[in-house]
């Protein structure tokens, strides 16, 4: 436990952070859009969209990963199109791991952003209207700043959850060391290997520490921002 971390552990940590950061970066704007549409726009089929957005939360992660393969595998319709026109291949890549993680954590993010949007005082938006602010202006100058605590909380939660995504990543992006072997995958692999118990233990402790750190940072950030906003 007091040895220097091995290359495998560092790789796993680096990959986990990379994948989780990319996942959050990708889903954040989409989550804000989805939250807006689900909260403020009335259209037939809204309930269906709501259900679709939350689907990854109730499906087995492996099923999600498999679905992604069906859509974006190299020989799958969308995947082949991406390869042919943009040279983008997603399975077996870090980007693919990030995508799988993003899809799994998307519902979490949408829920947090939606909550923060619902808590924005519409009266303040009305006040902004009377002061001459057009809809986009209002959103950027009033609504978004007030949503910040919720968005941050959602982002950090999604980040922490993304660090732990296993089923979808291993199914879609496979378990390539240094490319897609994130912490959970590395831990699983270590458990399966003879003599890998020590490594598995270290990876487990690392995962716990990261998770705890993530939650603490989230709480601190949210408090800071709330105070700034005068809540």
């Amino acid at each position: 436990m007091h040895d220097l971390p091995s290359a495998a552990e560092l790789d796993a940590l680096r990959l986990s952070l990379d994948v989780a950061v990319r996942s959050v970066a990708f889903t954040l704007p989409l989550a804000v859009l989805a939250a807006w549409v689900l909260t403020r726009v009335r259209f037939p089929g809204r309930m269906l969209l709501d259900a679709l957005v939350h689907l990854p939360m109730v499906l087995p992660p492996v099923a999600v990963g498999y679905t992604l393969l069906l859509l974006l595998g190299v020989h799958a319709p969308l995947g082949a199109w991406l390869d042919r026109h943009f040279g983008i291949v997603l399975p077996f890549t870090t980007a693919g791991a990030a995508l799988a993680t993003a899809v799994m954590t998307f519902p979490l993010m949408v829920r947090a952003v939606r909550l923060s949007l619902e808590n924005v005082d519409r009266g303040l938006e009305d006040a902004a209207r009377t002061l001459g602010a057009t809809p986009v202006d209002r959103f950027v100058s009033v609504t978004l700043p007030l949503m910040l605590p919720g968005i941050l909380a959602g982002a950090v939660t999604a980040f922490a959850a993304g660090l732990g995504e296993f089923g979808a990543v291993i199914t879609f992006a496979a378990n390539v060391p240094g490319v897609t072997r994130t912490l959970p995958l590395a831990l699983y692999t270590a458990m399966q290997s003879p003599g890998g118990d020590a490594l598995a233990l270290r990876l487990a402790v690392l995962s716990f520490a990261l998770g705890l750190l993530g939650l603490l940072v989230s709480e601190l950030l949210v408090r800071r921002v709330r105070r700034y906003l005068g809540a």
Binding site: D121, G123, L124, D126, A127, A128, R129, T130, L131, G132, A133, T134, D137, S141, V142, P145, L146, Y228, L229, G230, A231
Partner: protein, 365 residues
């Protein structure tokens, strides 16, 4: 001129209102809670759409359901001071003040930033956050913010209602100053007749979603429908007069009202100032002959114009006192005892101190 003619139906309530308000000036939408005042002002602002109707400001049509015209709130150029201030919590006071200014576009400025800050006493508050302000301070900032957006009309929805008496007294003079110094037209929602008295030039009486009457404040003060809203104790003629004599030591002044003079308890007004006062009907005593040895300072020759029962078991007598109309509230027994008839001469007795708290200086013109 602001022309409003709208109807709006809601689950528990329906509003049917039609009135014109001359601008510049302060038009008060006066009524009890639930009478539809806030709905009406929100229709004017465009925050609510009427089921049918028309709203015109000057020559600009803002809403016309028949022609499908509905100008967006952000294009109406109406400042709005909400009852709960609604300052943006993520901006400083200065940020809030500048919010509307930045979006005012090419509209001609009503007043500059520095002047507003000076007029409303906000200099020391500029870097504070709304949560650090008192209720009165928040309303002043809200007022400044609305004014800096260069509005053609300022809407105020009971801005003083959520303040305690002291804060109200703190903010009211600023409103008076705004009216007098800036001549920004205002539509002011209130359920407090004293606010109407101090600020308004015109008043629209609202009750249960209907306009009972509308017109100049002094004219409306005589309208029997006003008592329906304010009750018997607050009914009284609103008069205007000019200060012709002052007794600073005794705290009294003499006002030229109509062709006569009225002694009132009044401080801090200079000679020649125009004053508006309300003579509460319950404080007016009638006599069929002059009486000596009374503490009452005003015994005015008058003529009975009309006598009518009020809604509350009493009698309202309208009198012409040297050209000014005054209301007196007496009992049925008194009316019988004095045997008053329209056209009779009578003495109207008013205590000078009766007007204390109900006499306000108003700007000339």
């Amino acid at each position: 001129m602001l022309h409003v003619s709208v109807s709006k139906r809601r689950p528990a309530f329906s509003l049917e209102a039609s009135f014109s308000a001359p601008l510049p000036g302060v038009t008060a939408l006066f009524g009890r809670s639930g009478s539809g005042k806030t709905t009406l002002i929100n229709l004017i602002a465009g925050l609510l759409a009427p089921d049918s109707g028309e709203i015109r400001l000057g020559d600009r049509v803002l809403t016309d359901t028949r022609r499908g015209i509905a100008v967006a709130v952000e294009q109406r150029r109406m400042g709005y001071v909400f009852q709960d201030a609604r300052l943006f919590p993520h901006l400083t006071v200065e940020g809030n003040l500048r919010y509307g200014e930045k979006r005012a576009g090419a509209a001609p400025p009503v007043i500059g930033f520095e002047e507003i800050v000076a007029l409303l006493g906000l200099a020391t508050l500029l870097q504070r956050r709304p949560r650090q302000l008192s209720g009165g301070e928040r309303q002043r900032v809200s007022l400044g913010r609305a004014l800096l957006s260069r509005p053609r009309l300022l809407l105020l929805d009971e801005p003083l209602a959520s303040l305690d008496v002291e804060r109200r007294e703190e903010v009211l003079p600023y409103l008076v100053a705004l009216r007098d110094r800036l001549s920004v037209p205002m539509v002011y929602v209130s359920h407090d007749f004293e606010e109407v008295l101090r600020l308004a030039t015109h008043v629209v009486l609202l009750d249960a979603g209907r306009v009972l009457a509308h017109g100049a404040v002094s004219e409306m003060s005589l309208d029997p429908q006003l008592q329906h809203i304010v009750g018997p104790d607050l009914v009284g003629a609103v008069l205007e007069g000019v200060v012709t004599r002052l007794d600073a030591q005794r705290g009294t002044a003499e006002l030229a009202v109509g062709t006569g003079a009225l002694q009132v308890a009044l401080r801090d007004v200079p000679l020649g100032a125009r004053v508006r006062l309300q003579l509460l009907a319950r404080d007016v005593i009638l006599a069929t002959q002059p009486i000596q040895g009374l503490s009452v300072r005003n015994a005015l020759a008058s003529t009975v114009i009309a006598i009518a029962d009020d809604e509350f078991g009493g009698v309202l007598v309208k009198l012409d006192v040297g050209g000014a109309l005054v209301l007196a509230r007496i009992t049925h027994a008194a009316r019988e005892a004095l045997n008053l008839q329209p056209g009779d001469a009578a003495w109207t007795l008013v205590k000078a101190v009766s007007t204390r708290g109900h006499a306000f200086r108003i700007a000339p013109g």
